[in-house]
């Protein structure tokens, strides 16, 4: 089985879509905002865009599925849901992506002085990470053709522990600054990882 090389990347704030639907949902704001909230969101969007430093890294791995096991070039993992997700794939792109440490600092700052602003910035930043992952997903599709929906550790029965293998395989600490805490949380906080299966017939 073979593995590709690590490929670091970065996106500018204006290269990604920060979906209002997503951040409204993250902040628990219903669907419509009123005047004061709209003004706050606008300010926060500006602050988040200034603080964003989206960086990530991808690496491809060969994949064999043999339910409930999935064999990558760097490890084997038992997960029925991932096995189902990757069925028909012989390779997958694994990635880690982060909005950067500056966003975490912005959130801590406002947590101390204005929790409403912290809440909105947190939500907008989460939407930004989502937007960055969408953008990457689109690039992967462009390059490899048809892909499976992206799948992250913690989805279905894929254990959270898989983060460790994924981050080590993509060398995400060194290449993008994405690390794990002892309790398997990604740091910086606004980071995500996933696996994108590449559909066989397209290869």
């Amino acid at each position: 089985m073979t593995a590709g090389v690590y490929e670091p990347f970065s996106f500018g704030a204006d290269e990604i879509v920060i979906s209002p639907r997503e951040y409204m949902r993250y902040m628990g704001a219903g669907t419509e905002s009123d005047g004061a909230l709209t003004a706050l969101i606008d300010e926060c969007l500006g602050e988040v865009k200034d603080a964003l430093r989206i960086r990530g890294v991808t690496r491809t791995s060969d994949v064999e599925t043999c339910a409930p096991a999935v064999r990558f070039s760097f490890c084997e993992i038992e997960s029925r849901s991932l096995s189902k997700n990757l069925s028909g794939c012989s390779s997958a792109v694994l990635f880690a992506i982060t909005a950067g440490a500056g966003i975490d600092r912005l959130i801590s700052k406002y947590s101390a002085v204005s929790p409403s602003r912290a809440l909105v910035i947190d939500a907008v930043a989460s939407a930004a990470v989502e937007g960055a992952a969408n953008k990457l997903n689109a690039l992967v599709k462009e390059r490899f053709g048809k892909t499976k929906p992206r799948f992250s550790p913690g989805f279905g029965d894929l254990p959270l522990d898989f983060q460790r293998d994924l981050l080590s395989f993509t060398d995400a600490g060194r290449r993008a600054g994405v690390l794990l805490t002892e309790s398997m949380m990604l740091t910086p906080m606004k980071s995500t990882t996933a696996i994108i299966g590449i559909c066989e017939e397209q290869k």
Partner: protein, 798 residues
């Protein structure tokens, strides 16, 4: 112990190239730890060292990049000490064999890479935890006989500090440190080259530089900046560009010839050592060594500037008059005193953010209150503040123990406030500045007090500079404060101080700072007196003033002075400051009632309306008739899903602003607390947004909240619950992985503090889950928590 930069002075020092790249070619699998090969595949490691030595490396790094306790825990498959011992032996034996063959004497460096964990507050690793991880490896390296230590591939300035401090304090070896800068010229956690240089030189590294990240084609700007700021040798070890797979083979996009050529250019500009990182091979090093062989090295010129820095950004002393924000200081400030006593630092963080927003360049931090544990509080405060603000800090204490603890955990290079001409003080504080770095403020007073005449103050300033030099602290890292006395006590006091500023700048050539506010003590119109005095001092060349950034008059002097002396290109700062004022004045005075302002969540409007209302209405009536009913309506609307979380929080904050305005008018402690609640995000969990929302609501519904922050161990929650005599503890957890910590905390509280109830919340929790771990109550949102708190306290008191 050998330092190549002392011994190789007639040519460029050549480091080695990538280890991982060669080991992968030799069969290292993805995910396999390369350090284990020192034990399992020693021949492959020997081959790596031998091939680099033969290619022309003067220095080889041991196969210990990831060899630390976090990756190789005790009792694991591979013993850490065994790995380090074997790795050092392999490098040493190859170096000796090479030496026997060629007569050259290559250096063996202990390689130390990052821990693999992010430090608090961004991550979960304690600063001291990181220091001890690095210390252990550094000591082993020294024990088994390396010549020097190479810390490399760090991309966080705080971890960098931990690594260098560990290497320096636990060994006597030369220490070199190189970091990963990205194409924007910063570390992943944000520090720019100036900040990295200030931090590292402060800690006393013997050489510094850049490695990994990108190829030499993208690092030119970073190397230029490092050379511009560094007084110690600069090391450049880039990748061979970026990898790509071609015909099934991995190739990097900067070929060996180009690599050598680009690095030669950097050597001509002043880089003293070169080598390679990811993707480089002995071929790269061979070409590199021959390309740089004929270039005569440039000694890095000593630099004259001094900067203070946080973990992210720097301020060069003297680049413009610095505003050192004075407001985090309990002297004469009831609010700060209260916050320090209650260990409730929200008020202090608030002051930090306000001062930053109003244009402070550096923040003074003073926690000197007789009845508190100053070293512990100052340490906590500095740790907290560096998560809130990116401004450099000025650590202000007369207690050397507190000073050391604060300097140690500080993620940057601080302004040290202060020493004076007393030998006892100099001997206690200068060693700290020498060890941790810093720019030292020296007050011109000694055992005999403050000399009246400027000449006397100059003499003490000279003494301070000389004594500092004995500790290796350069003059550029000293700022003299010739001290301001009150004019009301002595009409010549201000003049003498101003003359001292001129004299000391002229005779000694050091930067000068003053705490200005003292001058007007005891007189009316203090702001005006202070500002005229400041303007006078600035015209004499004052470099920094400890002042109140919230005073428009004072800040106006700084911005006007810069605008009038050509120090504000395009009047950018001046205009920005004036624009801010116009906006405030021009805010439309539309009709709005206080309850409406609270319900729409307009904090500043709510504060204004409250102040206006207080002209005609007694404070308690404002609370009972206006604020509380508005807040209750908002709470009800939230429960009925007529409005949502952000609006609820905005209203709570507006109510908070309104309460603050009322409190100013109230006799002290009227409107007593409804009860105390300890809040914490449990151990292992670093997400605290939900807990912060709960805190805001509880506070604005009249409860006193003791917020312990995030990643809080069970014992600390228990200790706080007992000390603050609360009936209720609130715990938050976001992920399933931290629920066990929550369960343990609940168990401990129920066991050791029976009667204290525990309410839990957080993304992963459900009522069933909460029951299963023994919580007294599960609340699905912040409003429910407020209701439960009311139930606990009102129920119990009736």
């Amino acid at each position: 112990m050998r330092n190549p930069f002392f011994e190789i002075t007639d040519r460029t020092v050549v480091f080695d190239g990538a280890t991982g790249t060669l080991l992968q070619a030799a069969g290292l699998r993805p995910g396999e730890l390369p350090e284990t090969w020192a034990l399992t595949r020693p021949d492959a490691i020997r081959e790596v060292h031998r091939s680099y030595l033969e290619a022309g490396s003067d220095l080889i790094a041991t196969d210990t990049f990831g060899a630390n306790r976090l990756k190789f825990p005790e009792g694991g498959e591979f013993p850490l000490e065994g790995i380090v011992r074997a790795a050092v032996a392999l490098a040493r034996e190859e170096a000796d064999a090479f030496s026997a063959r060629t007569g050259k004497k290559p250096y063996v460096a202990l390689d130390m890479g990052p821990t693999g964990r992010l430090l608090k507050p961004l991550g979960d690793l304690d600063f001291e935890g990181a220091v001890s991880v690095f210390s252990e490896v550094a000591k082993l390296g020294e024990k088994y006989g390396v010549d020097c230590i190479l810390i490399e591939t760090l991309n966080d300035s705080y971890e960098l500090k931990a690594a260098v401090l560990a290497a320096k304090e636990s060994t006597s070896l030369p220490v070199f440190a190189t970091c990963v800068f990205d194409e924007t010229g910063r570390l992943l956690t944000g520090a720019d080259p100036l900040t990295v240089v200030s931090l590292l030189e402060g800690l006393g590294v013997d050489a510094l530089g850049v490695n990994c990240g990108f190829g030499p084609d993208k690092l030119g700007g970073v190397v230029d900046d490092l050379l511009k700021y560094s007084s110690v040798p600069v090391i450049v070890k880039p990748n061979a560009g970026l990898p790509a797979v071609k015909n099934g083979k991995t190739e990097y996009d900067v070929p060996a010839d180009t690599f050598a050529e680009l690095l030669s250019e950097m050597v001509k500009k002043g880089a003293r050592a070169v080598g390679g990182c990811c993707g480089t091979t002995p071929e790269y090093i061979r070409k590199l060594a021959s390309a740089v062989a004929g270039i005569k090295p440039v000694e890095p010129p000593k630099k004259e500037y001094a900067a203070v820095c946080s973990g992210v950004r720097s301020f060069i002393i003297g680049s413009r008059p610095a505003v050192i924000g004075e407001r985090i200081n309990p002297t004469g400030k009831k609010k700060i005193k209260g916050a320090l006593r209650a260990e409730n630092y929200g008020e202090i963080f608030d002051e930090a953010v306000k001062q930053e927003e109003r244009g402070a360049d550096i923040l003074d931090v003073n926690a000197g209150l007789p009845e508190i544990d100053e070293p512990a509080v100052l340490e906590t405060l500095v740790t907290g503040l560096q998560g809130i603000t990116s401004l450099p800090l000025c650590i202000d204490t007369s207690d050397p123990v507190a000073m050391e603890r604060a300097l140690r955990v500080y993620s940057g290079k601080a302004l040290i406030n202060s020493v004076n001409g007393k030998d006892e003080i100099l001997d206690a504080t200068l060693p700290l500045a020498a060890k941790y770095g810093g720019v030292v403020i020296g007050l011109t007073l000694d055992e005999d007090g403050i000399p009246d005449e400027p000449e006397g103050r100059l003499a003490i300033a000279k003494k301070i500079v000389e004594r500092a030099a004995e500790y290796g602290i350069e003059k550029r890292n000293i700022v003299i404060d010739p001290l301001v006395l009150t004019v009301s006590a002595d009409p010549l006091a201000a003049k003498r101080t101003l003359d001292s500023v001129s004299l000391i700048k002229k005779e000694l050539g050091v930067a000068v700072s003053l705490g200005v506010s003292n001058v007007s003590f005891g007189l009316p119109g203090r702001d005006r007196l202070n500002s005229v005095f400041l303007a006078e001092a600035l015209s004499r060349g004052l470099d920094a003033a400890i002042a109140n950034p919230l005073s428009d008059t004072m800040m106006g002097v700084f911005t006007s002075h810069a605008a009038l002396t050509g120090a504000d290109p395009g009047f950018a700062r001046y205009i920005a400051a004036e624009d801010g004022k116009e906006e405030k004045k021009a805010a439309p005075a539309a009709e709005m009632t206080l309850p409406a302002a609270i319900e729409t969540g307009l904090s500043s409007r709510a504060a204004e309306l409250t102040a206006a209302l207080l002209e005609t209405t007694p404070p308690l009536e404002v609370i009972d008739k206006y604020i509380i009913p508005a807040l209750d309506r908002v709470g009800k609307a939230f429960e009925e899903k007529k409005l949502y979380l952000p609006q609820l929080l905005m209203s709570a904050e507006a109510a908070g602003a309104s309460f603050d305005a009322v409190k100013k008018k109230m006799p002290r402690d009227a409107g007593a607390s409804k009860g105390g609640i300890v809040l914490a995000t449990v151990k292992g969990d670093i997400h605290d947004i939900g807990k912060n929302i709960v805190r805001t609501l509880l506070e604005n519904f009249g409860f006193t909240v003791y917020d312990l922050g995030r990643d809080v161990p069970p014992e600390r929650v228990l200790e706080a619950a007992i000390r603050h005599k609360v009936d209720l503890v609130g715990l938050s957890a976001l992920m399933t992985t931290t629920v066990p910590a929550m369960e343990e905390t609940i168990r401990l509280i129920h066991e050791k503090a029976p009667g204290v109830r525990v309410v839990v919340g957080g993304a992963v929790l459900t009522r069933e889950y909460a029951d299963a771990i023994g919580a007294d109550k599960y609340c699905k949102d912040a409003m429910q928590t407020v209701d439960y708190a009311k139930e606990v306290y009102e129920g119990r008191r009736i």
